[in-house]
Amino acid sequence: MYDTIIIGAGLSGLAAGIRLAHYGQKVCILERHYTIGGLNSFYRMHGRDFDVGLHAVTNFTPKGTRRGPLATVLKRLQIEWDEFQLAPQVGSSVAFPGVKLRFTNDFKLLESEVARAFPTQIDGFRQLVAQLADYDQIDQAGYEGSAREVVSRFISDPLLVEMLFCPLMWYGNAREHDMDYGQFCIMFRSVFMEGFSRPFDGIRLILKILVKKFKASGGELRLRSGVQRIETDASRVQRIVLDNGDVVEGKNVLSSAGSFETLRMVNPPVSQTTVGEPGRLSFIETLSVLDRQPRDLGHDETIVFFNDHDKFEWCRPEDDLCDLRTGVICSPNNYAYRNNDGTPRDLEEGVMRITLLANHPRWVALSDEEYKDEKERWYQATLESATRFTPDFRPHVVATDMFTPRTIERFTWHTNGTVYGAPKKRLDGRTPYENLYLCGTDQGYVGIIGSMISGISLATHLLRP
């Protein structure tokens, strides 16, 4: 009998596991995949190491900062700031037709960019910033309100509204069209006011630190151990049955599988209203390895959020496999990596990652042969679209890879191939069962640091006497 069974060895499950095991609980993490990471994993292909989807570790704050999500994660998991080897971004931008807003980890740049491009809006922008700095991430009052409504109270130029929403929705919004107000505040702070960073070795470094800590604290990690069903009585989880038929019992169960995905595993089945709606947003991402550093082609930006018309439409593309009008271009090379002696350090090869919104049902309806063709076609179309906003790097591509909604579903078991989960978040992690809790994306936290905060907060709840 375990004190806590955790479903999923991603960032949130591992962070929760470290805390629970450290404070004496008998903990087991069950992971269906043969490796750790969940939505943020890593792999090796043709001799190269890749992150699955990491663009940036948001919530970056410099060494010595004592407040904020990164400081909380480090303190609660007893990790030194230097261990994550976070290098700050060089600089990013939001690019719309005829106007570009640049931003770095110094918020003053964005402020001056808004003042330059939208001189009539700067006072409203400052008032908006003052208001959202007051949003309380612990008490979360007013979380579900419409962010568009709040923002339009301060900013009257619709183009600026769209340009501010674009990166924030791209980096974590599960809802279509609008955003929960609380999510907006959290994302605004993590993207614009804190900022972007990346470990030289990518996500594997962070995951390996977490697994090592978890095991050193006495935690047990079982890979290739998918949960087949969660057996319950009227109010409690009784046992967990694995895909191979093994039965595992625990006093509490903490699932990072997603709210829809978790409640759907409950047996006897619960009603459709209880299960809720799964998310609808999925993505494709192309990865192009270059024969030189992107800056040698004149591209020194870390992330470019692009949108080729004035209105930013954040929704599932209904009429086609993907939407070429908006996307994110990430170059993991464009972080200020340093050697131990302080000299600049470059990733071995140039990389460009480009993400587009995609329609999951259309991607899964393809035959295997069509799927292969469509991947090739959309790889080309994605680069064609993105190079409107960057130098044309296509002649320098030496290797490629790509994920689609099918890939996401295959490796994460997320219905509809979602990355940001269900639109309705369960902030306290509670479910209809008193000993079944949710952590991870569907608790309302996104990003690398956010996922760990989620695990930490649920573990703290489970540790209360």
């Binding site: 450290h22 004496g24 004592r66 909380t72 303190k75 209360r464 006497p465």
Partner: protein, 85 residues
């Protein structure tokens, strides 16, 4: 453990939980929270470290006793006197 040993044990725990604080000037009769940045999760971690390291169970209603170093040592002395330092 003697009161002085308990005080040292608490200092060791605090050093782990709030490594950036200078604890050398800590006043025993002033609340911790007036002398350092200590949030509710820090506080809970102190309680859990005591449980982990010394098997002392502290019920939630007794948490106010732990507001100051002096109060905490007085509260813990009878509960930790049989523990070998």
């Amino acid at each position: 453990m003697s009161p002085e040993q308990i005080r040292q044990a608490l200092l060791n725990i605090l050093t782990r939980i709030v490594p950036d604080e200078d604890l050398s000037q800590l006043k025993d009769d002033l609340p911790f929270r007036e002398q350092m940045e200590l949030d509710s999760m820090d506080f809970l971690d102190i309680v859990m470290e005591l449980r982990k390291q010394y098997r002392v169970q502290i019920p939630e209603e007794d948490y106010p006793h732990l507001a100051t170093m002096g109060g905490a040592v007085t509260y813990l002395t009878p509960r930790m006197k049989d523990i070998q330092a």
